[in-house]
């Protein structure tokens, strides 16, 4: 720590050290739910083995602090802030090791002249994010004050350009401060934007906020979406075909948690990566769509790029597969490709498309709905095999009369037994 501080560190992170004081033995099976010391596991039997106490971490940190104090006394500084960046206090050890002796530390130990006063080595440039200039603080929060205060319905139209980043996030933060994660009732705030939205349009947008964008959007639209609704349509004047042109950028709805999204156009690459719960409809996507998705439901009415559903461990994707390219473009290591036959699935997909048409006026959705009985056969359902197994097991447990929570726990225990065995068998086959 002393060395890091002298090299310029102002903050220090501790992870493995404190974990070890709590009993971690670095088994590296945190992912298998078999942690034998009860640190990283949900298994009640193993959790009972946990022997850690907060005092152990406290003690560890005290030792660290004491040791650091002793080093500080040796070099004659009273506070960490005085110590930051004083590389001149470091003297390189000259090792005779064949590798170490070639290391030249001159550049690392260079002392830049940054200021006249040495104490300013610590935190000498305050950060200014100019939040007061952003569209949220400037307009949205003020505009939506009646909704935030009294839950009054608000509708407004605004122009947007690509310098307006993270539009709607501070507004959502204000709502969350007052109403918590539940937010406001659906469609309390309706904001119509026109223009080109900057990065992270509608990021972390909460319940009750609906943002409609007529135009296009940059990357990260709807990142971490937390209950809100996002609708993107091409400008009315636009002559291009919506389903053949990209209107939202890459990494749309990254890590989205809940909410809805209707995009009348194509999305860039990495659409809905790490989505854990939103319902999204889009007319086409680039490569790596639905990668690492863990939940939610996505409908894609057009083209998909390569490596679709890679590492997808949960959720469902419905893909319009009239040209039969899904099989070649999908990364099938975790997922199954099925037909959309189950009545629940059909109903879910139809509802998504109806909403898509209602919100965006999509021609594609209209055409599909017009010939629904036939068109539904052109859809394929992409579902992770383990997720499917889990869903089936939960349903079975619930049918036996268990409460939701108990059903999930029982299903989890049952499924994890069999999957772990499968994994082991697979690793044995792979050698």
């Amino acid at each position: 720590m002393a060395v890091a501080c002298l090299l310029g560190a102002e903050e220090f992170g501790f992870a493995t050290g404190p974990l070890i004081t709590m009993g971690c033995v670095m088994m590296r099976v945190c992912n298998l739910d078999t942690c034998p010391v009860g640190v990283a596991t949900q298994n009640p039997e193993l959790r009972a083995r946990f022997k850690g106490k907060p005092e152990y971490v406290e003690n560890f940190m005290r030792f660290i602090a004491q040791d650091l104090r002793e080093w500080m006394a040796k070099i004659g500084v009273k506070t960490i802030n005085e110590m930051v960046g004083h590389v001149e206090k470091l003297v390189p050890k000259h090792l005779h090791h064949w590798k170490a002796k070639e290391v030249d530390l001159t550049n690392m130990l260079y002392q830049p002249k940054i200021c006249s006063n040495d104490s300013e080595r610590y935190f000498n440039t305050p950060q200014d994010h100019e939040l007061e200039k952003c569209i949220d603080v400037n307009a949205l929060v003020r505009l939506c004050q009646p909704a935030i205060n009294n839950g009054k319905k608000i509708s407004a139209s605004l122009a947007i350009t690509n310098i307006n980043r993270v539009c709607g996030t501070i507004l959502s933060s204000e709502i969350t401060k007052k109403y918590g994660a539940e937010g406001l009732p659906e469609d309390t705030i309706n904001l119509d934007f026109s223009g080109s939205a900057g990065q992270s349009f509608g990021a972390f947008q909460t319940h009750g906020v609906t943002m409609r964008l007529e135009g296009d959007s940059n990357d990260y639209i709807g990142k971490g979406l937390s209950g809100g609704k996002i609708i993107v349509v091409p400008p009315k004047k636009a002559k291009f075909e919506a389903d053949k042109n990209v209107i939202i950028g890459n990494v749309a709805f990254y890590g989205a948690v809940s909410g809805e999204a209707y995009i009348n156009g194509m999305a860039g690459e990495r659409f809905c990566v790490r989505n854990s719960g939103i319902t999204a409809v889009v007319e086409g996507i680039g490569q790596h769509g639905c990668e690492y998705m863990t939940g939610g439901c996505v409908a894609i009415l057009g083209e998909i790029g390569r490596n679709f559903a890679a590492g997808m461990s949960g959720g469902v994707a419905y893909v319009y597969n009239k040209d039969n390219t899904l099989d070649a473009k999908c990364n099938k290591s975790l997922v199954l490709i099925e037909k959309v036959e189950d009545s629940e699935d059909v109903a879910q997909l139809k509802e998504m498309l109806e909403k898509h048409y209602k919100y965006t006026g999509s021609k594609t959705a209209k055409a599909i709905l017009a010939d629904w009985e036939n068109e539904v056969k052109n859809f394929a359902k992409v579902i992770p095999s383990a997720y499917k197994e889990m869903i089936t097991e939960i349903k079975r447990c619930k049918a036996q009369g268990l409460s939701d929570e108990d059903a999930i726990m029982d299903a989890f225990i049952e499924v994890s037994k069999t999957t772990i065995i499968k994994k082991t068998e697979r690793s044995a086959v792979n050698g």
Binding site: V25, M26, M27, R28, V29, L32, T34, P36, V37, N43, E45, L46, R49, K417, I420, I421, K423, T424, S427, A428
Partner: protein, 255 residues
């Protein structure tokens, strides 16, 4: 590797020792062997730790001083691949049939499964692997393919002398082992009783080593009936094991 939930599903079990009243009648070994199915379950108990303490070999931590690749062969045994396990085992251990019988099993003392329960039966698995291989005739002399024409003298034919002789011989050197007693094996032959390590098992290994080209000179005590000067003259290198008697620091004669 192993079975991740194995340590939760199976208890530690060792094969039943021979009953005491039967043992009283002879001096033979009293530990018995498991069948493969039992053994697989014991192998499945290994958790394949990210940081396996069983083979660190660090005296302050514990674990196998040989650095045996314990989780690897536990896993192979779990999958019923005894021959593969034997190959992994002999990568680090010259004579598993000795250590599997008489080693104090520091690996089991440092086994992570032992923190909250019983450790994996590493020692039993080890002896099973090598004994099965002997039974199936898979342990055959490995004649060195090349010779360096260098002569090495190893003084003392105890466990470490034999291990050194084995490794040097496999490197292609011509090895001669000097033994003061009338039989090869040192502590293995004259120190450990039959009930723990049968003399036949020691002799079986010595025979193999002999076939592999190692020369054993018994009843030969360097400095008494074979002069030290002669050894120095005849050999390119001399290896004196720590406990070879008559040398400074060696084991003192007690009789």
């Amino acid at each position: 590797m192993g079975k991740p939930t194995g340590f939760l599903e199976y208890e530690r079990q060792l094969p039943q020792d021979r009953p005491a009243d039967e043992r009283m009648k002879d001096w033979a070994e009293f530990h018995t062997h498991y069948d493969i199915e039992h053994l697989r379950k014991q192998g499945a108990r290994c958790m394949n730790c990210g940081v396996p303490f069983c083979h660190t070999g660090d005296p302050t931590v514990g674990g196998c001083p040989l650095g045996n690749l314990i989780p690897e062969w536990n896993d192979l045994v779990y999958h019923g691949k005894i021959e593969e396990a034997y190959k992994r085992l002999t990568k680090t251990s010259n004579f598993p049939e000795f250590t599997g019988r008489v080693c104090p099993a520091l690996c089991e003392g440092s086994c992570t499964a032992g923190m909250n329960g019983d450790p994996v039966t590493v020692k039993n698995i080890e002896v099973h692997i090598i004994d099965t291989m002997f039974e199936q005739g898979k342990v055959q002399p490995r004649i060195p393919q090349k010779s360096t024409e260098k002569r090495v003298a190893v003084i003392g034919s105890g466990p470490s002398g034999l291990a050194c002789a084995d490794i040097l011989n496999q490197c292609g050197h011509k090895v001669t082992v000097f033994e003061r007693s009338d039989r090869v094996g040192g502590l293995l032959m004259y120190g450990i009783p039959n009930m723990k390590l049968d003399k036949k098992i020691v002799q079986r290994r010595v025979d193999i080593l002999q076939k592999e080209g190692i020369t054993f000179l018994t009843d030969t005590e360097v400095g008494k009936n074979y002069s030290a000067a002669k050894v120095v003259n005849e050999f390119d290198a001399l290896l004196r094991r720590n406990s070879s008697e008559g040398f400074a620091g060696g084991r003192k004669k007690r009789c």
